[in-house]
């Protein structure tokens, strides 16, 4: 478990980073939003970011990740196809749905659907990144909204500074969109439809 940690940006950074964590936290995260890339780069320029991570073992891990020599991917993640309405992608949760997007030459891809456990993060190991994800039938609930994130990233992975642990420095294009699921058929409508079916079948049998 994490106990405390610090992250020190490059010396030229004007921004500061503070983690707040409690003993037992399994995750600590800091993020900050900016109005422009120039503001972002002024606060947190490219360079070496120094991690010091303390755990309850106890152990202290030190590592430096180089956020440099990277560019944003040339492709913007874009969902293709599907039925859109009211700004959302409409899907029937009772069947499997394949979400399709554009190809990218980025080094990493991530696909996340909130509240479902779907977290798909993939490394381009030479055969290309996937261009779709199939959400199995009944994974999503009827008449719900889900926030979805699709990201293309260019990154460097370090596996040497902390033995057996991967650290990443990356530039990413991230697209968010909403999935809205269709509601269950109204029970009254189902009852009427069923009654009509029975009546029609009875009539046919009577004629026969």
């Amino acid at each position: 478990m994490l106990t405390s940690s610090t992250l020190t940006p490059p010396a030229t950074a004007t921004g500061s980073i503070s983690f707040t964590s409690n003993n037992g936290d399994t995750k600590v995260e800091y993020h900050q939003y900016f109005a422009s890339s120039s503001d972002l780069n002024a606060a947190f320029p490219d360079g070496n970011y120094q991690f010091s991570i303390n755990t309850s073992t106890p152990n202290t891990y030190s590592s430096s990740l180089a956020l440099s020599s990277l560019t944003y991917p040339s492709d913007i993640p874009t969902i293709t196809g599907g039925t859109w309405s009211g700004g959302a992608l409409i899907v029937n949760p009772n069947i499997s749905n394949t979400i399709v997007w554009n190809a990218s030459n980025a080094t990493h891809l991530s696909f996340t659907v909130s509240n479902t456990g779907i977290h798909d993060t993939v490394l381009n190991s030479g055969s290309g990144l996937p261009t779709s994800y199939t959400i199995a039938a009944n994974t999503l609930q009827p008449d719900q909204s889900y926030f979805v994130q699709l990201g293309f990233a260019n990154g460097n992975i370090d596996t040497t500074q902390i033995s057996g642990v991967q650290g990443a420095a990356y530039y990413e294009n991230s697209t968010e969109f909403t999935i809205e699921t269709t509601p269950e058929p109204d029970s009254g409508v189902v009852l009427v439809a069923g009654s009509l079916g029975v009546a029609l079948l009875s009539r046919r049998r009577a004629k026969a």
Partner: protein
């Protein structure tokens, strides 16, 4: 969909009421790796630093750039897998949050 205007700063902690949806999404943006750093002991899962250009898609057209850029620093027990086979890492089936079985 969440839209951020101007500068926004937040800290998100798993298992905390302060966690935000954006943080939930961000937690998987670049989930890089998981391993036991010193054997059977719960330890560091992954860590990273990144800059993110955020886009929003609300129809069949091209996503629009949100008026912001972001930077994320995080460490987590989140895991990833590689469908291409370069890395295949275990899941935390014990659900104790340490990222290892």
């Amino acid at each position: 969909m969440i839209r951020f205007i101007g500068i926004h700063k937040s800290v998100a902690l798993r298992n905390s009421s302060h966690i935000t949806l954006r943080a939930l999404l961000a937690s998987a943006l670049s989930v890089i790796g998981i391993s036991a750093a010193d054997g059977a002991v719960s330890d560091v899962g992954s860590y990273g630093v990144g800059k993110v250009a955020n886009y929003l898609q609300a129809g069949s057209g091209t996503p629009t750039l949100a008026p912001l850029k972001s930077v994320f620093f995080y460490r987590s027990n989140c895991q990833w897998h590689d469908r291409n086979g370069a890395y295949q890492l275990n899941t935390d089936t014990t659900s104790d949050g340490d990222g290892i079985d």
